[in-house]
Assembly symmetry: none
Homo-oligomer: 417 residues x 2
């Protein structure tokens, strides 16, 4: 089966927006054992769309396309798909009902332009969009089945999972190949060092394929296996995961693909422990990550984002003398911030960050990338200093936040993993 991916939209064509959808779709398809032959992108141009739909219709068996399903005049996908297939657009009853229900649930009238979204090529099979107004659709153009999805990532992702992957698996037919994948999440190694440590997995387990993914600042190590005998595959892949995990040592967060905030949350939950956070340079990023995990209210009590020094003293009880002697970015300040957050929240554990994310604020002694992390536990409170090489505010905030969570993770892990 020849499968291709198409992104549409002037923003991607002109480089105003980096296309992350195509990579995401490719990864999900490859994980499902469906090889991707090619990606393409064209802009919001009727002729360019018709031309590429016809090309793909002549050479591919399946295409997953994103974008151009919105309600505005530069959303041309349905019109161009109809023209490429030589059919008319017609109001799709299920699509209209979906759009009407979306607006009715919100007590708002359906606009004329949203009604346009219910016009699909004749014969198209509407694909329900549970999180937005734009329905997708599947249809045949030439020899190829096209799946048209909205370009908004959360909508696209949900519809890919619900509608497209099951149908692609059916299209692929009786090739009963399974593709299994295990994801080992790590923090603390660079991509190249992690790669060197695990490269020999394909020699130890010749059927296993290895992939490294930088999800900054985590590195995810993926092991893929194709085959037909699921129980045997499971055993082989488990053995490969054990071997790989042993090479990676203490940098391993999870062998089930879990990211740091979920791993830390799981440790807190299983120990019935609670957490408070005091954030200066991370500016709420730790709290934002922790609360992206559903159910985090079970263990997360408070983050005091004390950007101003006065808040560090007044709210967290950091000693003015400490700030005067050492400044805001210091191990002792971080230690007192963590101890203060733990005390005011009545939490079992607390972490704290104070550092210089940049681009300004660095000095020779404390350059951009410097962070002090505090940790308070039922037994102790400590502060540590780190310096990272990034000259990028967002990367530093993420690296600082991850380092603080990692210090907590290791304190919560019995063997000090």
């Amino acid at each position: 089966m020849i499968t291709e991916i198409l992104a549409t939209g002037d923003e991607i064509r002109t480089g105003a927006l980096v296309d992350t959808n195509s990579g995401y779709i490719a990864e999900k398809l490859e994980e499902a054992g469906i090889a991707v032959a090619r990606h393409s992108c064209v802009g919001d141009d009727r002729d360019a769309l018709i031309s590429i739909f016809r090309e793909m219709g002549g050479r591919a068996d399946a295409v997953v396309a994103t974008g151009g399903l919105g309600p505005t005049t530069d959303d041309l996908t349905a019109e161009a798909a109809a023209a490429a297939a030589g059919v008319d657009l017609e109001e799709n009853a299920r699509a209209l009902a979906g759009v009407e229900a979306f607006f009715a649930a919100r007590g708002r009238p359906v606009t004329a332009s949203n009604r346009k979204q219910a016009f699909l090529p004749r014969g198209a099979d509407m694909l329900d969009n549970p999180v937005g107004t734009a329905p997708g659709f599947a249809m045949q153009i030439g020899r190829c089945t096209f799946f048209f999805l909205p370009g908004v990532p959360p909508e696209m992702r949900r519809m890919l999972e619900n509608h497209v992957l099951p149908r692609l698996r059916r299209l692929q037919g009786d090739v009963r190949q399974h593709c299994m994948v295990k994801t080992i999440t790590t923090f603390g190694l660079t991509e190249s060092v992690a790669g060197e440590k695990v490269a020999a997995v394909t020699r130890e387990f010749p059927r296993v394929k290895l992939g490294l993914r930088a999800r900054f600042p985590e590195i995810h190590v993926k092991l893929y296996l194709n085959g037909t005998d699921q129980p045997a595959m499971e055993r082989l892949l488990d053995a490969a995961v054990s071997w790989t995990t042993a090479q990676l040592g203490k940098s391993v967060l999870s062998t089930e693909g879990a990211s740091m905030p979920a791993v830390v949350g799981g440790l807190l939950r299983s120990q019935r422990a609670t957490l408070a956070v005091a954030e200066s340079c991370t500016g709420g990023r730790i709290a934002n990550w922790l609360t992206d995990v559903s159910g985090s209210s079970d263990y997360f009590l408070l983050s005091a984002v004390t950007y101003a020094n006065a808040m560090k003293t007044d709210l967290l009880g950091v000693s003015p003398r400490t700030l005067e002697l050492h400044g805001a970015v210091h191990e002792e300040t971080a230690r007192e911030m963590a101890a203060g957050a733990r005390r005011i929240a009545g939490a079992d554990y607390a972490i704290a960050t104070t550092g210089i994310a940049g681009p300004s604020g660095g000095s020779a002694e404390k350059p951009v990338g410097t962070v002090c992390i505090g940790l308070a536990t039922p037994d102790k409170a400590l502060g540590r200093r780190y310096c990272f090489p990034f000259n990028h505010r967002g990367m530093n905030k993420s690296m600082f936040a991850m380092t603080a969570l990692n210090l907590l993770r290791r304190a919560l892990t019995p063997e000090g993993n």
Copy 2:
């Protein structure tokens, strides 16, 4: 001139790596007035490469291609380009000298696999790579001039600038087209309503092209103009921006492309005012956004992320009676949270959020998507309730955070914009 971009490599094809090169190249080409017709990606496969080189050679005038120039066996670009053009590979003296100089400068011997990089299609024009071992090359396939560059971003960027852009400008000839773009950021309208309001801009200003971009929950309206006379274009685009802004009314955040946190930060800075935040359901997202803006420490003092109810009373001074009577998600709770944050931080303004981001925690009376926002100013403190239709934790957190910032923005805007 028909110009296309091609990325090659299995990592991009399979989604292991997001292709940032193509977007970067597209942006640089469009800035130089060279319209990009299409992007494509194929993997490290000799037949797939030959096939797409021939296709492009038949339909495009220029192609900028990245990847596949490295020293390993899956680097097949030169071989496939030679096959597509019907010529042999031969050792290129300039390329070999470049590779040898690179290794000599580092005191390392040239390996056999690096020597392979000096073999280029006969007749190809070597493009010097000052930062890596892989030389690029330019050559004709069919009617089209191909520029082959390495996939490593810093190498590609330097060579695009040094070699490709000057040659593309010459190929394009004396049509010195510029492309100008203005971005109007908005919040509060759906994409479809915004689209209807501004659709007529292309009738009022026939040379202007319109694009709408959902950067959830902001909607960005983009106006594009191509031409040769920059001052005249500037005037025309300014008039189109004024017309469009008038249609969009109070939903306009910025006509310079600024996002909500930067706009709110700018207003606070210009009024020498300070801000405190109290976050429950947004879990630190407001603070994280505000502190992504460099220099935010000038006005942002504190966010108290009070996930636990006890923190709302102990830290922010919300009355236990209010929580008992109304619960955590209520206008009065939000109002008291904002007033408390303003008081403890000694800030001029404060905003607060308390709501139900989901997926759990909803009820008939307060469904998932309900949020109460508090605002405290030097004159007053108030609470407001909103209900959003999203059944997605991340989308709700973003919508709640944006709504709170928007309430503050309007309080800070003289005419209550």
